[in-house]
């Protein structure tokens, strides 16, 4: 049979802790009452939508911060990579906007003039950064439109999808590209574009110089001969001055158009196949 008399120690300890706790609780209750700050409910709701792993992949300190950024700073809603599509849908559902559907886009470097094909007129000595080089007149490549291969795009790529080849040319691995578009902004020569993954025909040149000028500095530069445009009947490739430009809104089915190019500027690539491999 248990003794009915509870030991004094239990009573005192319970009382002391209890009373301390009570005092503390009261203090906090008062603080909560008088120092309360109203928070945006939407931020909390959005935080709920996010995975809550605070990984920082979105560039914010954590999920809560990202939620705040969406509400207060109009941050893009598709930054949460771990959450993927599900999270995106949840966020969009909460905010009442439509999730962007459509084909996945990957980055493409529109220059094929690597060091073996494009001429250098001078030797560059300075910071290994395209933007810095462009400010003092480029990296010595005679083509003022070509890829300098100093890797500003590769450095800004969050998933290391861009490689600088040994011949100093930036190349995107379509399989790794998440389509964030950071490299597009980073390139000082506007050489990188976002193209739908399924497109196969690309023109790897952005030189607007006239044909004879281009011929002088690059073996694979577009000389504006117009043959490809004729071959596709102006559907999918158009001329911009002396430069042929792929219009990615119109799919080109017949890849043989590449053979019409005397400079081999047009290349055929299957982004999807590359992804699969």
């Amino acid at each position: 049979m248990l003794p009915l008399i509870v030991p004094l120690a239990i009573i005192t300890s319970t009382a002391v802790i209890g009373l301390t706790g009570l005092g503390c609780g009261l203090l906090l209750a008062m603080a909560a009452r008088f120092l309360a700050v109203r928070e945006d409910e939407r931020i909390e709701a959005l935080t709920e939508c996010l995975p809550g792993i605070n990984c920082g992949a979105c560039g914010m300190a954590g999920c809560g911060d990202y939620a705040r950024a969406i509400i207060e700073d109009d941050a893009p809603v598709n930054l949460c990579k771990p959450g993927g599509e599900e999270t995106l849908k949840a966020i969009c559902a909460y905010l009442g906007i439509e999730a962007q559907a459509g084909e996945r886009e990957v980055a493409l470097v529109c220059c094929g003039g690597h060091n073996g094909l494009a001429k250098h007129q001078a030797t560059y000595n300075g910071i290994a950064d395209c933007i810095a080089a462009e400010r003092i007149g480029g990296d010595g490549k005679a083509c003022p439109f070509g890829c300098m291969g100093l890797g500003s795009c590769a450095r800004i790529c969050p998933v290391n999808a861009i490689e600088i080849t040994e011949q100093r040319l930036a190349a995107v691995h379509p399989a790794l590209c998440i389509g964030c578009g950071a490299c597009v902004k980073a390139c000082p020569r506007n050489l990188i574009g976002m193209v739908p993954e399924s497109r196969k025909v690309h023109i790897l040149c952005r030189s607007t110089d006239r044909g004879p000028v281009v011929r002088k500095y690059c073996e694979v530069g577009c000389i504006g001969c117009n043959r490809c445009v004729k071959a596709v009947g102006k559907k999918g490739i158009t001329m911009d001055g002396a430069l042929a430009v792929v219009d990615y809104t119109v799919p080109i089915e017949d890849v043989s158009v590449a053979e019409t190019c005397p400079q081999s500027t047009i290349v055929v690539r299957d982004g999807r196949k590359e992804n699969a491999s």
Partner: protein, 453 residues
């Protein structure tokens, strides 16, 4: 008129090897007319000019080729008579691409109708005179290329009390200004008098570094007839003594506020060449179609001071100077401290081209990307009292907050930091790069502010 030493000393102060003896005593020789001229439409600060001529058009000397495309922009005139061959994008002497007019000289050097214009008397209307300066396409010929007529018309609340003629020429190798002061001192006096009257007779200070005693003497003689508050200021030879802000401080003790203009402290600085161009435009009615420059460097056979037409291709100049002694490894447009390295020699002389420097292989400095060892020399020598070491590191890390905190936009890109850096870091390139980025960020911030308000 008095001559005295400059009363103040600015921060920094390098003593590079000057190499001026190559050309300091060489009289200016006019360069023969080249057959082809390459005229950039971005020879000045601000918007590139808009072309007025078409391909195959025939033009006379002095005929406007392009008109200003904004308030801060300038006219560009045909340097000689001939035919327009092409208008397209090319590399320019500024080290970037711009629209360039290529013309072929017909060898007659015939003036266009109405040129040269009738001279304007000294008591002509002020606005008329300033319009003439603008129409002559005059820009700051020291290097910055700021349109001179804009400088000459300060807003009424910013009265100019001191006119400083910049004859410091602190860049090593260059002697064009020195020769102009020695040879054209009388015309310089006319120019000074013209500019002074346009500004309401401020005090005039002619600032010359003490390594050009011949120029000091010539100016003293020529200017003795000028009345009023005119003084020749002899500056200690130190780089960058001739930089605008440093010069103003050395002469007047005033600091141009950060982000401000010389007129904010009541001063106006004109380069010697610009002053002569103003005299030409007002007294002889000549538009700016030629300038004096120094062709020099250890790779050049016969270094010389030359009077060249704007647009003269650099390879023609080299040819005229007897070609090269050794193959040049680097060709610099301007002086070695602030000039631009040229990727090719096809570009032509600009209004701001004060020199052409051909460097042989063994004198070419090579930047290595080594870590900063914090020796503090750059801090010691920065004429703007910045902390270049921190700025270049911040630039590498793209830490924009830090860059703004350490006031990167105050950097004048004089190159003192890179010159003394034992780690051979490309400091100036870091500065240029970061400055451009910060300026962009600021502009975007302003835009958002405007949009939200």
């Amino acid at each position: 008129m008095k001559t005295r030493a400059a009363p103040y000393r600015c921060a920094g102060g390098l003593h590079p090897v000057y190499h001026k003896s190559l050309t300091a005593a060489a009289a200016t020789i006019p360069l023969e007319l080249p057959s082809t001229l390459v005229i950039s439409l971005a020879q000045h600060l601000g918007a590139p000019a808009r072309p007025l001529v078409k391909k195959n058009e025939t033009v006379g000397r002095g005929q406007p080729l392009a008109e200003p495309a904004g308030f801060i922009s300038a006219w560009i005139h045909a340097p000689t008579s001939g035919k327009i061959k092409a208008i397209d994008e090319q590399w320019t002497a500024a080290g970037r691409r711009a629209t360039v007019i290529t013309m072929e000289s017909d060898g007659e050097d015939r003036w266009a109708d109405g040129y040269p214009q009738p001279p304007l008397p000294a008591d002509a209307d002020r606005k008329q005179q300033i319009d003439r300066v603008a129409a002559a396409g005059i820009v700051g010929m020291g290097g910055a290329g700021f349109p001179t007529h804009v400088k000459l018309s300060p807003p009424p609340e910013k009265a100019i009390d001191t006119l400083i003629i910049n004859g410091a020429e602190c860049e090593p190798y260059l002697t064009a200004d020195q020769r102009m002061m020695v040879e054209d001192a009388d015309r310089l006096r006319q120019g000074i008098d013209r500019i002074r009257r346009l500004l309401g007779t401020p005090a005039v200070r002619i600032a010359i570094e003490d390594n050009k005693p011949d120029a000091v003497k010539a100016i003293q003689q020529a200017l003795s007839s000028l009345d009023g508050d005119v003084e020749v200021m002899v500056l200690p030879s130190a780089y960058p003594q001739g930089a605008e802000k440093q010069l103003i401080y050395s002469v007047t003790g005033r600091e141009v506020p950060s982000g401000g203009l010389p007129m904010d402290v009541g001063t106006l600085v004109e380069n010697v060449g610009t002053t002569l161009a103003v005299a030409d435009a007002l007294d002889s009615g000549l538009p700016l179609t030629e300038r004096v420059m120094t062709a020099t460097g250890d790779a050049l056979s016969q270094p010389a001071n030359l009077r060249v037409r704007i647009g003269t291709p650099f390879d023609k100049i080299i040819e005229h100077c007897g070609g090269t002694k050794t193959p040049p490894a680097k060709v610099v447009c301007g002086g070695p401290m602030m000039g631009t390295a040229l990727p090719s020699l096809a570009a032509g002389v600009c209004k701001t081209t004060s020199g052409l420097l051909l460097m042989p292989q063994d004198t070419v400095h090579f930047f290595e990307s080594m870590a900063c060892i914090r020796c503090g020399r750059c801090v010691n020598y920065c004429p703007m009292r910045l902390m270049p070491c921190t700025l270049s590191e911040g630039g590498e890390a793209e830490d924009d907050e830090l860059l703004e905190e350490y006031r990167i936009l105050d950097c004048i890109e004089c190159g003192s930091c890179a010159y003394v850096c034992p780690a051979h870091r490309p400091m100036v390139q870091h500065m240029k790069n970061s400055k451009a980025r910060i300026a962009l960020i600021r502009r975007e911030r302003e835009l958002t502010k405007q949009r939200t308000s």
